[in-house]
Symmetry: C2
Subunit: 205 residues, 2 copies
């Protein structure tokens, strides 16, 4: 159960979302090919991915939606609420705080910090921007495991080093830079996504 | 040159960014292991990826930075400016319009559209939000190849169908839904990124 490839991990989230919808629709059992079709992937892939976790659909019946959903919930770690802090109160930080999708999936953003005194005290969603110097105290008082880095590229490495010292476990990094850290990092690289798209557009023309 | 795996395509953008920095630093030649180290990947991976495009570093000398950069520029398609429109003037749409990183990489957002009349006429960055009914006319007048879908999940499929009819070639989709379309799509799925992170955090504890 240790060496699960990263693409599989990402697809687990997709399966979970798909199952939640099926559950809402009142579906009791689902075949791997139905999941596959909804997600635009191969059904053999679905079966292979789920077999990592010892889940096998019954031939002719499929997967029990509620049971598989519950199992995925606990595997992914979305069976609990996660406290999240955001470093950087610029456009990306603000968009995240206001993003309902995260809250719906049990990611609660409980604090947003910035080094810029001009931004401190401003209201974003229902949070007040705090100065970065308050970070340590805040993390001490609240259980925070996840931090978002939404600062300029030049500040990102410094920020991650601060976060290391505070016992943060995982980081979602929006700065377009490879961080040197022992923390778990997931990158969201918007410009790379655009580049990857135009590469394909160019090839298709 | 046709069957280039998607992860390779994404890494091309990383190589290009790395080379641009080296170029700014005045570096003339670079070894694959230096590129690899800066990006936190294996040097054998760098050599393999670049060999897709017939680029081979000289033993003991490495890659010519300027030449490789220029070649990547044209391969990725960032040797020209791309006009981009954003559908949805919510938090994500606004953040994108204000994001300097895209402009720097030659992605010009030239229009932002929303179905909500309350948002139409508002200024975001240096753009005025237009009503979605103006989309067709706008795309006719301007050369637009790339569109961003930043609307709620429930509207995303409808939007992509509109875009298909307008001759848009590629879409960056921020809505957490698998779009049914023949257009090229790159997904940015923020909650999946968070889920993937906490999965790893849970495993590490």
């Amino acid at each position: 159960m240790d060496k699960i490839p990263r693409p599989v991990i990402r697809r687990l989230g997709l399966y979970y979302r798909c199952l939640s919808k099926l559950y809402e629709e009142g579906v009791d059992y689902v075949a791997s090919r139905d999941i596959a079709e909804r997600l635009g992937i191969k059904s053999s892939q679905v079966r292979k991915d789920l077999s990592y976790f010892g889940e096998f659909g019954k031939r002719g019946v499929g997967y029990n939606v509620a049971m598989l959903m519950e199992k995925l919930e606990s595997i992914i770690g979305v069976d609990k609420y996660w406290n999240v802090i955001v470093i950087g109160a610029g456009n990306i930080g603000s968009a995240l705080v206001n993003y309902e999708g995260l809250k719906k999936e049990k990611f609660n953003i409980i604090g947003i910090f910035d080094a810029d005194r001009a931004k401190v005290g401003r209201k974003i969603g229902n949070l007040i921007v705090r100065h970065i110097s308050e970070l340590k105290e805040f993390v001490k008082k609240n259980i925070v495991e996840i931090a978002v880095i939404a600062v300029p590229e030049t500040a990102a490495q410094y920020v991650v080093e601060q976060l290391e010292q505070l016992g943060i476990k995982g980081v979602v990094n929006f700065a377009p830079i490879k961080l040197r850290t022992h923390l778990l990092v997931e990158e969201v690289d918007i410009t790379l996504t655009f580049k990857s798209l135009v590469f394909q557009v160019e090839r298709k023309i």
